[in-house]
Amino acid sequence: MSTTFKIFLVLCAALLVVPFVPGLIYPVFVMKVLCYGLFACAFNLLLGFTGLVSFAHAAFLGSAGYVTGALMIRFGGHPLGMPAAFLAGVAAAALVGFAIGGLAIRRKGIYFAMITLALSQIVYFLAVQFRWTGGEDGLQGIPRGSLFGLDLSTDTTMYYVTLGLFAVGFLFVDRIVHSPFGQILQAVRDNEARATSLGYDTDRFKLIAFVLSAGVAGYAGALKALVFQLVSLNDVSLHTSTEVVLMTLLGGVGTIFGPLVGAALVVGLQNYLATIGDLVTVVIGLIFIVCVSFFRRGFVGEFLHLRRRRSERAVRRKALRPAPETSPAAEPA
């Protein structure tokens, strides 16, 4: 069993008891963290493991939310309504990802990022214009429906379903990273020209990674729509796209758990400092500045770096240490 999997099991075990201590930590808050955490994992798949900066991730989160929400409002009563609407949301996000990614990967670096930004603004515009998205009002009062006969309307049931879906999503991302495909992605990130010279069509790998990332972001968006029974323009806004960048960088880009830590931090600050109003943005901004100035690898990234450095030093010390008790005694003065 890998270390990642062990840590993940401990995390899930801890999260299982949350509904029993509502005084300590509020389950709805944890569900929000899980949704954003998964969203950030999806983003990290692209930034951390493929080396692409996207400003379109809110478009995936939001379009999945809208599709799932709109379908639930119409067919939520059907016994298979929830899984069908959920999957339709994920498929919609992957499709939007295919369209945006397919256009953007023709360019590199900042131009790539700008194209994703422009195209995601079109998605925002459509969300305002369409009638089925509710325009300025968004979709409200989305029914949660039921999953295999399990009524999701109570928060506790929804909590466990959310935790289960989160685990599936997280392990899916972890598998992509640690797969034959993930290995080539890493090669493309490290040295694209070299990967090409070895015979890999790097654009194809980038596009598949983009669609997978969009799909997982949509998975988080569909889940979020069900948890909060609400989808709003904020979900497709540029603000959300930049927030996920922030979460990923704070937690540690290119690490498996970093995005979760970053999401917990940002959502936590927004939640617990809600009383100070707009100043939350200032606090998060300051934390971000401190982060990029002093520990650029993010929380998890710095931790892993320190640990690696320490083990390297231990190895070196062992190698340098002379055989025991053979050091020559000091000459008497």
């Binding site: 034959p180 490290d190 040295n191 020209a193 090409t196 010279s197 790097t202």
Partner: protein, 250 residues
């Protein structure tokens, strides 16, 4: 079929109004080491970039084993068996030395798009990867990060990675560029070793490397072929001498 592995006919490249390469007819014989030399600005790198598909030729054709590959993409020619090296060392810095080689081996498995499979499915390649690393003398560094290797070792790793593809034709871009003397000797021996049963075309500045290794030498000047032949023939050619020494302008 001719005895050429790689051939160009009337290869021409213009950048705007400037002709960088004009009507180059190159014949690289199978199982030989062929060098492309010439003073700065002669068009060596442009020819190299045309062969490796970085640039599209303005005119002419490129044939590999008789097949026209002029319109291929860089990834396609690699799959045909033409693998290039780079002027600066080209490794995957954040991967282990072994994984660098394994990335190249992986294409043979055909699982490169399988994102649902475990990475453990690649373990079957470890043995071959270690074999290749021993062959070039890097087995002791298998677990190290490629970024932590010295410059000479990075270039060695690059060669091991290239060998993993077992390519019939190697295109080397200044393989000894920026190397210390003892490293140059090591790379020279390595090139001689890997040339067994392969065709190699290299762009190289270091004349000791060219004279020791290469069977045929093509000298370029101002984008055109100035001379062609063995080192002895080429080095005694008056046109080549004047091109390198500046001739009457010196």
């Amino acid at each position: 079929m001719s005895d050429c592995a790689l051939e160009t006919e009337g290869l021409t490249k213009m950048f705007g109004g400037f002709t960088a390469v004009r009507d180059v007819a190159l014949q690289v014989k199978r199982h030989t080491i062929h060098a492309l030399i010439g003073p700065n600005g002669a068009g060596k790198t442009t020819v190299f970039n045309l062969l490796t598909k970085v640039h599209r030729p303005t005119g002419g054709r490129i044939l590999y084993e008789g097949t026209d590959i002029t319109a291929d993409t860089p990834a396609t020619i690699a799959r045909r068996g033409i693998v290039r090296s780079f002027q600066i060392s080209a490794t995957f810095p954040h991967m282990s030395v072994r994984d660098n080689v394994r990335v190249a081996l992986q294409r043979r498995l055909g699982t490169q798009y399988q994102f649902w499979r475990s990475i453990r499915s690649l373990s079957v390649l470890n043995e071959r990867a270690m074999e290749l690393l021993s062959e070039v003398g890097l087995a002791d560094y298998a677990e190290a990060n490629a970024a932590d290797l010295s410059y000479g070792r990075k270039r060695t790793l690059e060669i091991a990675t290239t060998l993993a593809l077992d390519p019939p034709l190697l295109l080397l871009d200044e393989p000894t560029q920026g190397m210390a003397l003892e490293d140059v000797d090591r790379i020279k021996q390595l090139i001689r070793k890997i040339a067994q049963g392969r065709t190699i075309l290299m762009v190289e500045h270091n004349m000791s490397v060219v004279s020791d290794l290469c069977h045929t030498i093509t000298v370029l000047q101002r984008g055109e072929i100035l001379a062609q032949g063995s080192y002895g023939e080429v080095s005694n050619d008056p046109a080549v001498k004047s091109a390198y020494l500046g001739g009457g302008h010196a």
